[in-house]
Symmetry: D2
Subunit: 262 residues, 4 copies
């Protein structure tokens, strides 16, 4: 017989226990949904400052307008209006390496750079030290032929407005940790290495903040998806009131041109 | 040329606007993720009491242990560990009529009963009046051959612990509206009609509360899915740390018996 | 301990058995993929004529150009190029009641009409009898407030080219059964009831043909999805070679207009 | 205005054209579903021998019993019985790197080895030459820290019964190309390098055969998914007749043990 140990929850005839607490008596009305989401993944309750940063990250990532993912969700509702879960799932499936991946990639990049500097050496204790570490990390990353994640934005070319706000909230709440510090240093030193100045983007700073909250890089995409789920619900509710899907279909179909294969 | 009007958001080079506000200046750090989710769908900011009830609903619906949906998400991660979005989507796809449907069905049932009583007649102003309305609604529903949604629970046979807590919070916050009142009346009168006493279940009371917050029945399943997304992330994080999927697969495979078709 | 009886297959160290046969020795190279798909669902091997009709149905339903479902699949690949399974799944999720539903709805409508005529009365044996049955079925369906499925097409207003071909092949192969006969009668008698002449569409005739092959109405959507999976692979392969997703995103985004909620 | 060139198809009021042909006149009843699937992706019609190999591959990959993917599809139907498309999509989402990935990985491994040998040097013309190439490819692959794909099977430890059959059909049909030849050589030489003899597995030989048919490695997973879609339909049809999902849920739930996090 198999056994599947779980730390999430158990249910019996008279109670529902979640994370070691009585759901009805201790959690309902006492914690926000954001707090519960943090707790379910981290298996520890966030501190007050941690929670504020975490909720801010979810708010920052919730919506980006008519993204490919939002359009896919709307078009799926056009074909299967009876299945909100299908439309939501279709939207989330576009949250892969290219769009939501930045949050995860940036968290991973920073975590790896920190891991390589730990051990014999302590983490830097001044800006200069962080800049040095950032310099090494950027060069190593580029030598392996990869782009530095979290740098650049197709629209916010001279600065992503979310970035300074999240840094400030993390600082105010006393949870600005090594990933955010290193990310700030990446912002300072990259122009000398890359030869041009790129903004630290919002997806990247969110990845750094989540990593500072102690989450494994593999779960960062998960939180980006949770945030996006709320944005997609907004799009689906709007689609039910005022459908855009049929127009997008019609416009696209009109722009298709048959071309035999060369 | 088509035009797709949206009330959700817009972006330009220097700002991201969401719901008519500046995301970075006015929303990040100022609203919880739950508040933003409410706002994105309702297109209005919730009042303080409304928000507490809404967050409580999301907390109540977030997890139910190893449900078919959580197991499907874990098994999907077993086969495609590189795609958290695929595993999350697979879990949400099980949120259909049978499991998450109760929230939606209950909201619909109550909304229809209220709609039929409005118009010539005002809503009841005392318990007796609500009981009468509940009596009519239950009988009409059963005559059309359907089960009354929100009644009964496979495990919590003598009472779902979430139900009284949500009623109390809605009352404390001053947002106990007609759907919840009618649902309470369903709890009082159904034994006389059905011949046995069933608990008002948690999924049902959540549907009633969401309907009282002004959401269309079609969006109730959407919020149940959002809540479940957090629970699924908890399961996926646990699955990454301590996989249950391979054991579930192995156990199931062991219990399969070939049987030629009769 | 549970037991899950299956008629599909079993595997041991030296053989793989599928549908009671040795996969390697008896099926590989001996049956087409279409034949296996039929067999897996029906749990019986199709006759030669049945197989030709079945493959024709799958061919007829495989692609319809840049449908909402194909566009959603392409946009999902834009966001998550590493996950072909996610893009394919997103495309299939749009195969719900509105698009692929016609095949299923038409099969159901015909099956119900036939079921109601069976029992005391034999099925008709001449065209006049079928017309009478069709007349009754159309009237009953419309009285319950529903549209007759399988009638009308947004593009092929004066005739869907697939319909006569499928009728002819079914006739040639000797498998033109009661569902197709009744569907033909629907085509003859509906103008007198509806006051205008609509084409019998391809999705509808495919539903009738699948029902004649003995499939339950609940599985008809499944075959439409299988057929569509091939079309979606074509779109995804083309998207990899020559991406349309980014252009569709850009065009749609350009047409979005912010409109505060009234 | 954007333009999306496509080689797949176009539709007007009186005809449906697919791949440059009239769907109703030239394809329906003339090609099998497998042939159309090949054509849609390759944009060329397969030769007769190619088609037989291709259909054999789809048959070989269609089902593997109660895999995680099939179980996830069944459990999704348990929760959302109204959405066959959701259950099918959930099943396909498990077709990622770990399960269906072998087909793709093996095709890629062989294609890369062949690419590196082309250019100055011609492909081998005798068994000894292929063995040499296989030897180099295996060593290079292992030096980069990766397992050789297509080798080994958890159940068929002394030989996967599908492998020799597919080799034989490809040879009989005159389409045994360089990928299959190199894969055969991998089978001959790996024991000397790895120190033990592993079977060439079915997923791997299918990847080699598809690569020999001219498909890009990125599409191999797509065909494995198409094949699997038929198997999943078989499971879903069986699940509708005789549900296993509730039992799997119940059994799993019974085996869950709460364990506070260490």
């Amino acid at each position: 017989m198999n056994e599947y140990p779980t730390s999430i929850g158990t249910t019996d005839a008279t109670s529902i226990r979640l994370l070691g607490h009585d759901l009805a008596a201790d959690l309902m009305g006492q914690v926000t949904f954001g707090e519960l989401a943090f707790w379910l993944v981290a298996l520890r309750r966030p501190g007050c400052g941690e929670l504020r940063v975490f909720e801010t990250v979810l708010v920052a990532l919730a919506d980006h307008g008519f993204t490919p993912s939002a359009i896919a969700a709307r078009l799926t509702l056009t074909g299967a209006p009876e299945s909100v879960q299908g439309a939501l799932a279709a939207g989330l499936l576009g949250g892969g390496s290219r769009f939501l991946g930045v949050t995860e990639d940036c968290g991973k990049f920073l975590a790896e750079a920190l891991a390589s500097s730990e051990g014999p050496l302590p983490l830097p204790d001044d800006e200069e030290g962080w800049d040095e570490l950032a310099d090494m990390a950027i060069r190593a990353h580029r030598e392996s032929g990869r782009l530095v994640p979290g740098l650049g934005h197709p629209v916010h070319k001279s600065g992503d407005p979310r970035t300074p706000v999240l840094f400030k909230i993390a600082e105010d709440e006393g949870v600005l940790g090594p990933h955010l510090r290193l990310f700030a240093a990446v912002g300072r030193v990259h122009p000398m290495i890359l030869g041009r100045t790129l903004p630290l983007n919002g997806a990247g700073v969110c990845g750094a903040a989540l990593a500072d909250l102690g989450f494994e890089p593999d779960m960062l995409r998960g939180f980006a998806l949770l945030a996006r789920a709320a944005g997609l619900l907004g799009h689906l509710a709007e689609e039910m009131r005022r459908p855009a899907g049929p127009g997008i279909y019609e416009q696209t179909d009109r722009d298709v041109v048959y071309q035999p294969r060369a």
